[in-house]
């Protein structure tokens, strides 16, 4: 008993002495290092290690000092000897590899980690770190191999690899060709040698990496070639289509959705995929193709059929600008199933088409029906107010607007409604001219551009200044895309002549916008500044000030 006690005391004393002398050593080493005397610090550590070969921090620190002093070979030897002399310690291997990387010895860091893995039987805990180093070296084949090893151990972390590659690809996006495409090529080459589950995993990885490196066609091709390998790839195809849609590759997305429907017709996702396919086709400009698809879908159950035909009608009305065809399509939906949402959509679209075709009484009937659905009442009132304005019934228009804004002041159409009310109030004593403006707007809505032009010519000659300027501003907006110079001239005309701040601010903002689009940034800035000075209390002034601050920063202008 006494012997054990004495041994314990001795052990404590030895440990305390060790701790004290080690603290002294570390302090002295820190001082030497601060004084830039790395060589002396290294000597101190060597002496210490000679007496205490089991002190791991001392070995790591010695290697660091040697590396800091530029003796990379010696540093590497110290670290290697230290790691080799004990069982594999994952944390220490990683730590030393990071130090090698910091010293610029990236290849040596890779080799060290490979040795570490080699000393372990089956696991490869350094796979991710090794892949990172190999990516730095642009050793694409090596990086792919390291990622394969990583995914064999943690197959659920495939998105981790994709995100890493996507990040690198985005970082190097300015380079042509993107260097990360080398990784994609190496990954494609690696596919030749694998089979089974790993092949499936790598196929999906390859497709996603191709998409992230801006080659969605290749990604789709890869998935298409592997569709016979099972459900994993088929499901990945749907996800791939969604991702293509998300990043704006609508054409590839349409084909990917189509391929999914073709190969997985019984999937619960098939209907959604078909709808998406049509939607993507329309977005990528193939309206006819989209309509064909929607019509095919109308053979499905009643709800699906109604939805598909409504979309056909929307495309006919908006993209094909054929309200008559849209009305015909809508006529097939008289017995509309489902709740108010589909009905609201149908009535709104039908009223708009009827208005465009000059069937005003029928349009009014649609809006009146719409007004009976509580959630759609404000939309119906706005439609009726517009129609009243178009037909010169200003009291009726005002009444609809009053009802809308008093009940739902935060409705999406409330501001448009108030703008209309302002126009009616402001030009109450110019009813005839106001009616001509309303008619011009209606004719434009109906695509009767020549007749609308005649109305606007009449306004130029006979309307009071303010209303004339309203008409010119509407013309300018119309020409902004097709004839910006003409639009600019119209804005300038209004800005120079218009006494009302509200309209002159609109004109000046239009001018500034067009000048900036044309690259005349300084002129745009001066126009914005004049706008604030002309009408500091205009509600748009805070926005104008933001434009001024932005352009001043851009031009390095301090005012």
């Amino acid at each position: 008993m006494m012997t054990k006690f004495l041994c314990g005391v001795c052990l404590c004393l030895v440990n305390t002495a060790f701790a004290d002398s080690r603290t002294e050593l570390m302090d002295s080493v820190a001082v030497l290092r601060r004084d830039d005397n790395v060589a002396a610090a290294a000597e101190h550590l060597r002496a210490w290690i000679g007496a205490h070969p089991q002190d791991p921090e001392a070995h790591v620190l010695l290697g660091q000092f040697l590396a800091d002093g530029g003796d990379h070979a010696e540093a590497l030897q110290v670290w290697r000897q230290f790691l080799d002399s004990r069982p594999v310690d994952v944390i220490r291997y990683g730590n030393v590899a990071r130090r090698l990387q910091a010293a610029g010895l990236v290849q040596e860091a890779v080799e060290l980690l490979e040795e570490g893995s080699g000393r372990l039987d089956k696991t490869d805990p350094f796979a991710w770190q090794r892949a990172e180093l190999l990516l730095i070296l642009q050793d694409w084949a090596g990086a792919v191999e390291a990622h394969r090893s990583f995914l064999r151990q943690e197959p659920h972390r495939r998105p981790f690899v994709v995100n890493r590659i996507a990040l690198l690809a985005r970082g190097a996006a300015a380079e042509v060709p993107n260097p990360i495409s080398g990784y994609v090529e190496a990954l494609a080459a690696a596919l030749d040698d694998v089979s089974g589950a790993e092949r499936v995993a790598l196929t999906v990885l390859l497709a996603w990496c191709a998409l992230e490196t801006a080659d969605p066609e290749f990604g789709l091709h890869v998935l298409k070639q592997a569709l016979d390998t099972g459900d994993v790839v088929r499901l990945a195809l749907f996800q791939y289509a969604s991702r293509c849609e998300q990043v704006g590759h609508t054409e590839v997305a349409a084909r990917a959705y189509g391929l999914f429907v073709e190969t997985s017709p019984a999937s619960p996702l098939a209907t959604r995929a078909r709808l998406k396919e049509a939607q993507m086709l329309a977005l990528s400009g193939d309206v006819d193709g989209a309509i064909v698809l929607y019509r095919e879908m109308s053979a499905g159950d009643a709800g699906q059929s109604a939805q598909a035909m409504l979309r056909v009608a929307h495309l006919q009305a908006s993209s094909l600008k054929d309200p008559a065809a849209a009305l015909k399509t809508l006529a097939t939906l008289d017995q509309l199933p489902g709740g108010n949402q589909l009905r609201t959509e149908l009535l709104t679209l039908r009223a708009d088409c009827r208005l465009r075709l000059g069937q005003t009484a029928a349009a009014i009937a649609d809006w009146q029906q719409l007004a009976r659905i509580p959630a759609s009442r404000a939309d119906a009132e706005f439609g009726l107010a517009e129609l009243s304005f178009f037909t010169g019934q200003f009291d009726s228009a005002s009444a609809f607007i009053d009802s809308l804004v008093s009940r739902q002041p935060s409705h999406a159409r409330a501001n448009d409604a108030l703008a209309l009310l302002l126009l009616i109030d402001e030009f109450a004593d110019a009813n005839e001219a106001l009616a001509v403006l309303g008619r011009a707007r209606l004719r434009e809505r109906q695509g009767l551009r020549d007749q609308a032009r005649a109305d606007r010519q009449w306004l130029l000659q006979h309307a009071p200044a303010g209303l004339r300027h309203v008409s010119l501003l509407e013309d300018a907006v119309f020409f902004e895309q097709s004839a910006p110079d003409r639009a600019l001239a119209l804005y300038a005309l209004v800005a120079a002549d218009e006494p009302s701040e509200r309209l002159s601010v609109s004109a000046m903002l239009g001018q500034a916008r067009l000048l900036e689009n044309a690259g005349q940034t300084e002129a745009a800035l001066r126009t914005y500044e004049s706008t604030v000075l002309t009408a500091p209390l205009d509600p748009r002034t805070p926005d104008v000030r933001r434009h001024i601050a932005r352009l001043r920063t851009l031009l390095g202008d301090t005012g």
Binding site: D27, V29, A30, D36, V532, L533, R546, T558, G559
Partner: protein, 424 residues
């Protein structure tokens, strides 16, 4: 071209003032609740100073208003920036000066726009700097400096220097526990280490100490230093730790000096003394200077954690008065890595500008160091109570009259004041 137009403007303005020296009107920029955009008003005053036109800062008069010779171009710029102003006659101004004479108010003439520099790293960081945002919103130009420029002596080119959220103790903000696996943290450490080597230092903590020394010399030589958040306490920690190592091995590869605490030399610090280091690398704190609650349950709301500004004698203590000009003396609280300072650890010569009433927490301090001054302001973003790493930047257009931001901008203008001796 731009310079030419600036010169033209200057000539026009000077010509105008010479020709209308007597009987001219004044522009009064009120800084009380009548002002629509307090922050931009500072920018306008700075803009006027840049054109070598004097500005009178009417301390304690309507929230610290400005009076400037009236000119269409200045009025026009005020309108463009959305700054409220009133045109007053010389007789009105005389009445205002009489009112100032009768109360705890004074007039300080601002003569020249200070040359501004912000100490900020070249890499993007996942947090924002309130001062940089305030300067940019107010339209005040500044240069960016980093360690290389500081060590190369570039500080002498500037009158005013701002430090924000920097860790001069070389411990990377002590984010080790929470963020060591984050790419931004690792990248920051790598960049700092590479730079330290390039500048001839064996480790980052040594380099930061050298930078702190240079900044100290700059202040002693007459520079104005304004620091916020962790740049304040870590600056003093770095100065006190010149002869020791306070950074753990996870930060600089070697252990902390065993006598680090005892080796601190408080005679070298500018604001704090007798503080105790937090040496655990896993604790998000540098020392006991900071009073940020360690228990998240003790953190309340911005309104509940308000602080109050001290009132000073405008005539006898013009500098503290300038630094505390505001339209309110109660300001919403806001946290930071360093939120406020423990009163008992502040050196005697330092003037307390704002405190959290009923506690030992001091939010805002100012002191003379050699021929220059330091002003420290605890917290990170006056309009974002708990600004977390990765949070989006504050939109200052939504806080145009922020009292917390006004305190920052007071610091920008005060170096433009004609120097006066502090009497108390």
């Amino acid at each position: 071209m731009k310079r030419a137009s600036s010169r033209l403007l200057l000539t026009l303005l000077c010509g105008f003032f010479l020709s209308t020296a007597a009987g001219a009107e004044r522009l009064l920029i009120p800084m009380d609740l009548q002002q629509r955009n307090h922050l931009k008003a500072y920018g306008l005053a700075f803009w006027v100073l840049e054109r070598e036109i004097e500005v009178d800062w009417l301390l304690n008069y309507r929230g610290g208003s400005f009076a400037i010779q009236a000119h269409d171009l200045i009025a026009q710029e005020a309108r463009i920036r959305g700054v409220s102003f009133e045109v007053i006659s010389e007789a009105d101004l005389a009445r205002i000066y009489a009112q100032i004479d009768a109360g705890n108010m004074d007039v300080v003439r601002l003569e020249k726009a200070p040359r501004m520099a912000v100490y900020t790293p070249p890499n993007a960081q996942p947090w924002d700097d309130a001062v940089t945002m305030a300067l940019e919103y107010a339209g005040i130009g500044y240069d960016k400096l980093w360690d290389e420029e500081v060590l190369a002596g570039r500080l002498d080119d500037y009158d005013w220097l701002h430090l924000h959220h920097e860790d001069f103790s070389g411990q990377y903000g002590k984010f080790y526990q929470s963020f060591r696996h984050e790419p931004w943290y690792q990248e920051q450490q790598r960049l700092y280490e590479v730079q330290a080597r390039q500048l001839g230092f064996t480790k980052v903590s040594e380099q930061k100490k050298a930078v702190a020394r240079r900044i100290y010399d700059y202040v002693v030589g007459g520079g104005f230093l304004f620091a916020m958040c962790s740049a304040t306490d870590t600056f003093d920690i770095a100065l006190a730790a010149q002869d020791t190592d306070v950074a753990d091995s996870v930060f600089d590869g070697d252990p902390i000096a065993s006598d680090a605490q005892q080796a601190l030399d408080f005679s070298r610090t500018v604001a704090f003394e007798n503080f105790t280091l937090e040496t655990n690398p896993l604790v998000y704190e540098h020392s006991d200077i900071d009073t940020t609650p360690k228990d998240a349950r003790l953190i309340r709301t911005a309104e509940a954690e308000y602080f109050t500004l001290f009132e000073f004698s405008a005539r006898h203590d013009p500098v503290p008065t300038m630094l505390t000009q505001c339209h309110t003396n109660v300001v919403n609280g806001f946290l930071g890595q360093t939120t406020a300072y423990r009163k008992s650890l502040i050196k005697d010569h330092v003037v307390l500008l704002a405190e959290v009433e009923g506690t030992d927490q001091v939010k805002y301090i100012h002191g003379q160091v050699g021929r220059g001054t330091i002003t420290f302001y605890g917290g990170h973003d006056p309009e974002d109570h708990k600004h977390h790493v990765g949070d989006p930047p504050t939109q200052l257009d939504l806080h145009r009259s922020s009292p917390g931001y006004r305190l920052i901008l007071n610091n920008v203008l005060f170096p433009a004041a004609k120097k006066q001796e502090r009497k108390t």
